[in-house]
Symmetry: C2
Subunit: 432 residues, 2 copies
């Protein structure tokens, strides 16, 4: 039995981009893996083990590389159109092959599968913490909005009415007033704000909700544009115009930072043209990203709503001078479209590549054995490494299923989680 | 300036139920508060400070008690009907006074306000971790279900058809097939499971989703029964009947443990009668709790679905002997109704009482000052204590707003978060 082979794809970005050899010294985990090899192997010095493992790694890598190339070719032939060949087809193939999403039974709807949803959860975890740090509170508004609400703000109804889904029957009876299935919540938010806000003491009011929204899109594309999608929508009310503008800018900066630092997507922050401004807003700020096909993707927006909705819904407060004033508002959103943006920014001909901080799985351990005796030793080692990595906060999976061959697993995981751009995934292969 | 006054309502349950005096020694935080007082006060020994503070506390408590009683009477008169007088009215009053929820514009809908939503988030945090520990993956199914799906399982359509909300217009056009707004997801889940499950290797398949659901209820009550509510729904597919039964029992046990240990609600685990079994299930397990009005509340259910849905949707797999078999299934859910259960179990005449582990705020610090010089010292002390408590993982709020009097704050927070039953909230009052 060999001591062990690890294919270390450099270290985590949090230890900066460093070469594998250096990583062994700088990344305590990597060292502990070597010690672990030593423990299972023979009594050689740590340096010797490192050298041994390194040389094994080099030799092994050649074999693996050819195995991977063979596998990838097979995967490509079978399922993933190369990105360079047909970007749109590649995008759909990657989503299917990496099991990120599937088509729902209703045209334009999408089932977000566990691996795709885990990316969304990582997005949620980061943003939710940032919203709370900036003193926004989560809450929940009903998704059914009386049709008359939508009509109250002129440009809002103009923008949204072609995209509405309407509930007309409830509990077996025709409804007196049609209900709009939430396309966005400014109207119902203002209806409630009007009841909650009375004086300047009630301001600012800063809330957020994580919900599903429905827009009857005709041309749909998984994650990018679907009939129903998930998002967060922040809504705030302020006493002054300046404060609202400051809030809108603060939130687009939260989005920019998220896109660049977490999703590793370079974005340009800017202001939307009049035509592309949100229906009901005074100004819309946006982060725009360039996808692998060189097309731009609107990845997040923050709106200064001015007093448009407060005037339509009569949302007033008594200022400190005792005067009635309309509140100043903002709203801002990031949606599951971001998952599409991540795929289209980082993926390559081979399949999906995920930014390490959002990757649901950062390390995959594929144990390899022949005999039952080997199995026991190898699985114990795999579990032990898994536990060490987990303890260090690395999201790790041992794929020990016996129904698939290691070759199949390499190809599958390579396509699903590999992050060669970021040097932030380890693929550890145990050949004991 | 006095050294400082703390009204310590005993220690956290995690330090067990112990008297305040003991708590000072056993709970390092409490000691550090005294040291803090010492630091701000004069050079007296720690014991002396303890005695001083304790005696101050006793004297102060009388004043506070009368202040509280006065305040509570006022609050009761103004807003909260005593529980002993009219349970239903009390329930609605508490929800309004503690700002947990409000009525939405559409009959039977509910806006969950930040304080109520934070309780739901605490429920989610605990359960989501447990679901992941038991290897369930989160995902998302579309909320629009073709009407024909609902009709496929006979008892399912019978049970749910009177409660459906139907979308009949989308994008300005009458739809060819009505869409059901998700009342529960067994049908769409099975539609997808049929595509994903082919062989025994694909089983078990264990998923969960956190979503909104709609049931057109005629008699509604905030949290307990609303037209739209939030819940999690777990769905699993198994190769054998035994495995499905084991899963259904495992999940009702997760719910029981949650109810008892986190929500501090005693529950009885049992099996629903034929009449109350979920529409489409073979067996429904339930946790039933007794509310303050001695009525039972169904607080969570776990269903063994047998092969009812797999036969209706033709969800088959090739077993290890090469035979086609229908899968065995479960589903299980806990909803925002749990928030109602918490209110109705723990609240008293004075208002809301929350189980400490789910309380969004466990400690409220109300600084009191007269002069500007006092203000600076008091706020610095309050912030310092806040930071120490936060570091210890205690959810703490400093209410330093100058627009409300301390008396108003006592009453407000007493009603909103006080936990006298559990001896798990500190109300710290700084009178420097």
């Amino acid at each position: 039995m060999a001591v062990g082979t690890f294919r270390l794809q450099a270290a985590c970005t949090r230890f900066s981009s460093i070469a594998p050899a250096t990583a062994l010294h700088r990344f305590p985990l990597a060292s502990s893996l070597y010690s672990h090899g030593l423990h299972l192997g023979a009594s050689v010095s740590c340096n010797a083990v490192q050298q041994q493992v390194q040389s094994t790694t080099e030799k092994q890598q050649k074999q693996e590389t050819s195995q991977f190339q063979k596998g990838q070719k097979k995967v490509q032939q079978e399922s993933v159109t190369p990105r360079s060949q047909d970007f749109n087809m590649w995008y759909l193939d990657v989503i299917a092959a990496a099991e990120l999403a599937d088509y729902g039974p209703v045209r334009g709807t999408m089932v977000i599968r566990p691996y795709g949803y885990a990316i969304w959860e990582a997005i949620q975890n980061y943003l939710d913490a940032k919203f709370k740090e900036t003193e926004h509170y989560n809450m929940y508004f009903p998704q059914f909005i009386p049709y008359s609400f939508i009509e109250k703000e002129a440009s809002h109804v103009e923008g949204f009415s072609p995209e509405l889904a309407l509930v007309t029957i409830g509990g077996g009876k025709e409804l007196e007033e049609k209900l709009v299935v939430r396309p966005t919540s400014e109207t119902i938010v203002n209806h409630m704000f009007t009841q909650w806000i009375h004086s300047y003491r009630d301001l600012p009011l800063k809330i957020n909700q994580w919900v599903n929204v429905t827009r009857w899109e005709m041309r749909t594309k998984p994650f990018v544009r679907t009939l129903e999608f998930l998002w967060q929508e922040g809504h705030t009310g302020h006493a002054t115009e300046e404060e609202a503008e400051e809030e809108a800018l603060q939130m687009i900066e939260v989005y920019r930072k998220f896109a660049v630092e977490e999703a590793a997507i370079p974005v340009i922050v800017g202001r939307k043209s009049k035509l592309e401004t949100f229906a009901g807003a005074v100004r819309t700020y946006t982060i725009e990203a360039m996808m692998g096909d060189r097309k731009a993707l609107q990845a997040g927006t923050s709106h200064n709503l001015g007093q448009n909705f407060s005037r339509a819904f009569n949302t007033q407060f008594l200022d400190s001078q005792g005067e009635q004033q309309y509140i100043w508002q903002t709203s801002w959103a990031i949606s599951t479209r971001m998952v599409g943006g991540i795929i289209m920014t980082h993926g390559d001909d081979m399949g999906l590549m995920l930014p390490p901080r959002l990757a649901p799985i950062q390390v995959v351990i594929i144990p390899i054995w022949k005999t039952d005796a080997e199995k026991e030793t190898v699985l114990a080692a795999a579990t032990s490494v898994h536990d060490q990595l987990k303890k260090e906060g690395v999201r790790t999976k041992v794929d020990a299923s016996e129904q698939k061959t290691p070759g199949w697993k390499f190809n599958f995981w390579e396509m699903k989680v590999f992050l060669s751009d970021f040097h932030d995934l380890f693929l550890l292969i145990f050949v004991w």
